[in-house]
Symmetry: C2
Amino acid sequence: MIVALAGGVGGARLALGLAEVLRPDELMIAVNTGDDFVHLGLHICPDLDTVMYTLAGINDPVQGWGIVDETWSFMQALERLGGETWFRLGDRDMATHIERTSRLSAGHSLTATTERLCARLGVAHRIVPMSDDPVRTIVHTTGGALAFQDYFVRLRAEPAVTHIEYRGAEQAKLSPALHAALASPGLEAIVICPSNPYLSIAPILAVPGMRAALEGRRVPVIAVSPIIAGRALKGPAAKIMRELGEEPSSLTVARFYRGLIDALVMDNSDESLSVPVRELNLRPVLAQTVMRDRDSRIALARIVVEQVRRAHRSTRAGVP
Amino acid sequence: MIVALAGGVGGARLALGLAEVLRPDELMIAVNTGDDFVHLGLHICPDLDTVMYTLAGINDPVQGWGIVDETWSFMQALERLGGETWFRLGDRDMATHIERTSRLSAGHSLTATTERLCARLGVAHRIVPMSDDPVRTIVHTTGGALAFQDYFVRLRAEPAVTHIEYRGAEQAKLSPALHAALASPGLEAIVICPSNPYLSIAPILAVPGMRAALEGRRVPVIAVSPIIAGRALKGPAAKIMRELGEEPSSLTVARFYRGLIDALVMDNSDESLSVPVRELNLRPVLAQTVMRDRDSRIALARIVVEQVRRAHRSTRAGVP
């Protein structure tokens, strides 16, 4: 089994590709929950939903979040009532938040709740939260500390980031399914999807046990860079790198994951970074990493799976 | 000022008529909250909503509850997720429940929350809950005790009623606005709307202070019978009367309110009940009580107001 770490739109796209080339028993997608928040009394898990809706084939491909053919009567009515409307909640999407909140309130874990939602939506592959415990990404900016969605949605990621905190991570436990998968003899590889390293992957790494599992890896670990020719296709990854004093590039991604991964998949356009990446003792893999459609997702997923399986065989055969 | 006690569709219809003939400072509508319940994590107040939507002109006139031109994407999506769908919640209606629940959770009273919702919906007349404290109508049936909405919506009022309990009423306080209105020198009359006596009005009477205010009334109190020629226009009032061993008729309504009211408005078709009603020391008032449209609501409201004002003048003049 391959465990994929994911969060956000880029993560969901590769997760979909992986789900197309791997059987349900061959893949577990572990998703960032640092973006989760309680809003209007609802427990909202944006990254879990994006991955879940994408694998269910009901995601809105244009806006990158939410459900396709969504209606907005609730939001219009809430606006009339003077409610908080900065976080857009579609009518169909509301059902997910209401049902999740109900089940969590009834004492079910986020893992069990996600499993049930996925089953109802016809998602065959396993999607698990990184943790059943609350971890909250706090973005510290030049203007003060901001809850993640305040930073990301309400303020459109405009404030300059000084550092990022994953509050609660130290007390959190990996979700039981993820923990078991990492310890399983059946684990074949770990894939880090092209998600924002700071906002989507770092919260997962901050949960005790995850970083150690990568550092002491006995299976290949491969990451896909979300930066292409110095830019992020979507989201503020490149902007945050600059704000943190780093050059926005796949080399910065390589440094961020150094010691945790064996190989980094970079876009063909970043071929010139192969040498410096190799100097970090990482194997650069060049590929077409822009995933505009289903075919390109599958193609990238195939390359990733092929790379880790080749590495896996080499490791097993004792070949370095 | 006239205080009207209301609940349900019949109550909302007369409340609308009263709002058409009285200025905002001349009317307070005190609404049953015994039907309220927490469902899917939402604090739902069906009677407050029916009155509020009716006065705002956005009620669905066909189904008698909810908002006109409603959409149902949320409910469809919830069904797909395997959520509870026996209580229908429209997309626009959801905004009311979410906003109310948020404000109650933030520590606002139901009175303040209702006031704000009404203001946002452009309702000028004052709508107040009977109490800010929880009162829950429990319907005891031959099949056991049922929470109100389980009885009324899920089981379509089919189980035979043995008695009805207003749980929490003894510990509840009248809402501050209603309490103040009842004690105010400006109080002109109290009107009991043609709502179900057992399910809509009795919960209000069960809150300490309300029954005493009617028993020791110093202003005219008039009720409008919800029973016409032995039948209820809508809802289970007549059915419950039979189950409780009473004949479904305005005379049963008169006995129910005996000692609390001065006059009972009955439908013209119940003229034959005038004599027995008079024998209960109640003044029968015959009128067209079917409120099919706006004009008939206003006409009935005019009769009610005229009756109480005439009684008020008589009382003030010392004439019995």
